[in-house]
Symmetry: C2
Subunit: 65 residues, 2 copies
């Protein structure tokens, strides 16, 4: 399975938001994350970067864009 862990980059640190994320879908002002267990979480921000082989997805707040 190729799910990834989602992190928020804030003040130079990475905070784990959600593990085992499958889908990331745009919603107003952010994204809805759904993991392989069916859990959902809304993230206000944008996708900063991806490191897929490392299973990592990074978000940042829009203000830092």
């Amino acid at each position: 399975m190729c799910e990834a862990n989602a992190y928020m980059i804030q003040n130079g640190t990475e905070e784990l938001i959600m593990e085992a994320v499958d889908s990331v879908e745009p919603e107003e002002d952010g994204f809805r994350l759904v993991n392989i267990f069916g859990e959902q979480k809304f993230i206000r921000g944008v996708v900063h970067s991806l490191s897929l082989v490392d299973h990592k997805v990074y978000f940042k707040s829009k203000a830092d864009a």
Copy 2:
């Protein structure tokens, strides 16, 4: 390996940009994609959505944001 294929969404269609993408790093006005073969490509746009279990990363142009 958990690389993904990158697509650009344009006019309601998906155009394959690059296969086997590992890293997606922000650069001015867009992202630099690097695949597992070390090939690089610059994409002008933003990340639209992810479907990681399906190995898919979708981009869109900023104008459509």
